[in-house]
């Protein structure tokens, strides 16, 4: 299914779609307000972008430095070229521990690698411990937003789900009540788990430590109770120096949800005595993206989700319409690099208004890259229907007579075309749009009458 087809599905429930649109805009608005409180905001974005430029230009050296220091600290470092290898490594560690139930905090990387279904296939129960992620896991759905995983659901739906899964009172939709039920359920899982899996927000080359940020404290609840911590990290998450965290932690939560910082920002340097930390460095297409000069910048992304909250298309089409682990504008420039054929409609899921670029805390030129991907898609997929109409237009504009005739034809056509033709399923842009009223005469005719 293409993005427009999925979006149409989402828009069928117009009330919910409206709520989705307004709620995400509210988050965007919070981001604006909190960022205005920082006089050096723009300078911080510039710095963050510059630091990431340096990281990407020296990535191999930084990865080696990071590995060396992490190893010195007692962290066991693994490397995975692709998702299969990543998943295999995780399973091997679990098997060494005889672990058949694992708790996992939010990690877009493990979603990207489809770790959950892989582990489940091998007899391991995976419990996602972020509340939103647990909700979508109960529904067998992926997250629809990278920061707000269950933003596509209303509390009535969650109430029904929790009634079924956690035996909460039927019809009780109070978010505090439902959260408390999830708390009891998840704390039981935390206290029982031998191994905990987390993602990584930042890995520091200079110290070999890595940082994980959450508001719920679920990553820490998992890892500090478990015997073994497995941290899964994309190779682009490196920062050179500890002090760079000052820049990035000031930007991350403010951009993501409009908070000044996430409530828990944990710096893992060495395991507690008698425990283990494993860190898996994952490529899975990142070196390929690094090689694409026009799209290299997309690797600066710190997964704040600001581009989603601001995007007029994302807000009105929902995360699932992208059919990609990372949805929204940033997903639409990352995913085509992984599978251009599957994700060919994503670069077109944009008005190119540039709002994503304006809010990006690391100044990725998202809308320009979307435009560039469109060129790539067109090149690989050959002639589009659109290409044909362009050729037709080219013929019309070349001949003055053809132009005149076609103009008068169009003015009449706009009046008399049946809606079925304009709002044809092939004409995606006809959806939810009305044609303008056609003028009675052409500009030439008007000029002759009024000015000559």
């Amino acid at each position: 299914m293409t993005h427009p087809e999925n979006a149409a599905e989402f828009l069928k429930d117009s009330q919910k779609a409206k709520w989705h649109d307004e709620t995400l805009w509210f988050v965007r608005d919070k981001r604006d307000k909190v960022s205005k409180g920082i006089p050096e905001w723009e300078q911080l974005r510039e710095l963050a972008s510059g630091i990431k430029d340096n990281v990407l230009a020296n990535l191999a050296d930084y990865l080696e430095e990071f590995e060396r220091n992490a190893t010195k600290n007692g962290i066991i470092v693994h490397w995975a070229a692709d998702s299969e290898e990543h998943n295999r490594l995780v399973l091997e560690i679990l098997q060494q521990q005889n672990c058949t139930a694992v708790v996992k905090s939010k990690s877009i990387l493990t979603e990207e690698c489809h770790l959950n279904p892989y582990l489940e296939k091998h007899g391991v129960e995976v419990v996602d411990t972020d509340l939103g992620e647990r909700i979508v896991q109960f529904l067998n759905q992926p997250p629809s937003h990278i920061v707000l995983p269950a933003i596509h659901l209303k509390k009535g739906e969650i109430s029904e789900l929790f009634h079924e899964k956690l035996h909460t009172e039927k019809g009780n939709e109070d978010p505090a009540y439902l959260t408390q039920a999830a708390r009891v359920h998840l704390r039981e899982k935390f206290f029982a788990a031998k191994v905990a899996i987390t993602g990584v927000n930042f890995g520091i080359a200079e110290t070999g430590e890595f940082v994980v940020c959450t508001n719920e404290g679920n990553a820490d609840m998992g890892v500090h109770l478990a015997q073994v911590h497995i941290a899964c990290m994309g190779i682009e998450k490196i920062l050179p120096r500890r002090k760079d965290l000052g820049v990035f932690l000031r930007l991350l939560a403010r951009s993501a949800t409009g908070q000044p910082i996430t409530n828990y920002n944990s710096h893992f340097r060495s395991p507690s005595s008698g425990k283990e930390i494993h860190l898996i460095l994952v490529d899975n297409g990142r070196t390929a993206q690094l090689a694409r000069e026009k799209f290299r910048n997309s690797l600066k992304c710190i997964r704040c989700g600001a581009c989603m909250n601001t995007c007029p298309i994302y807000r009105r089409s929902g995360g699932f319409s992208y059919n990609s682990t990372v949805p929204g504008p940033i997903g639409s420039i990352l995913s085509p690099g992984l599978d251009l054929k599957k994700h060919s409609s994503l670069p077109f899921a944009s008005t190119l208004c540039g709002s994503c670029t304006d809010v990006c805390p690391v100044k990725i030129n998202i809308h320009e890259q979307l435009y560039e991907w469109r060129q790539e898609v067109t090149k690989t997929q050959g002639e589009f229907a659109k290409g044909l109409s362009m050729k037709l237009a080219n013929g019309i504009f070349k001949s003055p007579l053809a132009y005149k005739i076609s103009g008068s034809l169009m003015r009449n056509a706009l009046k008399s075309l049946p809606n079925s033709l304009i709002y044809h399923p092939l004409n995606i842009w006809g959806k939810n749009r009305n044609l303008p009223d056609a003028p009675k005469e052409s500009f030439q005719q008007w000029y002759r009458k009024n000015r000559s």
Partner: protein, 186 residues
């Protein structure tokens, strides 16, 4: 070739043009740090309170399971720090000492030496952090300057209680971790 070699050589074969690492300038945001810190904590849904207000709350609640690693409040402890963090499951209150706080966002820095057990500030039902009011920094930049090269196996910037807004964006305090944060400025 191992995946490690494969990844590193794939990156090196690109021969990317070097880009210099920017210096981070000195960002300063002076003013009444205590007032700003208090506002930040309350924005994060925690509470800053005086020693007497804290004691009033504490004694009125009548807790029976309390761990205190703060010398200021050592007499409030009813339990000593266990060896196994699983014993923290029913802990009601943990009282810890923070190293310093950051005014711009309320983040408080704690390391292994303040935590005793890393699970402690998360697993407890209520968290109390005792902080010297003279140890407040302006921004995260000053915060990291202060930490500098200090070495701890685990370090944490903690800024509030466990919270979530995953159900229809309604803010709920007390997701999986501590249900409240009280910061006692002394």
């Amino acid at each position: 070739m191992s995946s490690r070699e494969k990844i590193l050589s794939a990156i090196r074969s690109l021969r990317l043009e070097p880009k210099s690492l920017p210096d981070i300038p000195h960002f300063s945001n002076p003013g009444n740090l205590e007032e700003r810190f208090t506002q930040s904590i309350s924005g994060n849904k925690g509470e800053v309170l005086s020693k007497s207000a804290f004691e009033e709350w504490f004694f009125a609640a009548g807790f029976s399971k309390v761990i205190s690693l703060s010398v200021q409040f050592s007499e409030l402890a009813t339990l000593s720090l266990p060896e196994d963090p699983h014993a923290l499951e029913t802990l009601e209150v943990a009282i810890l000492e923070g190293q310093f706080g950051v005014a711009e966002n309320g983040a408080i820095w704690l390391e292994d030496s303040q935590l005793g057990l890393r699970a402690l500030p998360f697993a407890t039902e209520h968290l109390v952090i005792v902080l010297d009011r003279n140890r407040l920094e302006e921004t995260m930049h000053q915060g990291y300057e202060k930490i500098a090269a200090a070495h701890s196996g685990f370090g944490l910037f903690l800024a509030g209680p466990s919270k979530t807004a995953d159900i229809e964006q309604s803010l709920v305090i007390g997701a999986q971790g501590a249900k409240s944060l009280r910061v006692v400025l002394i």
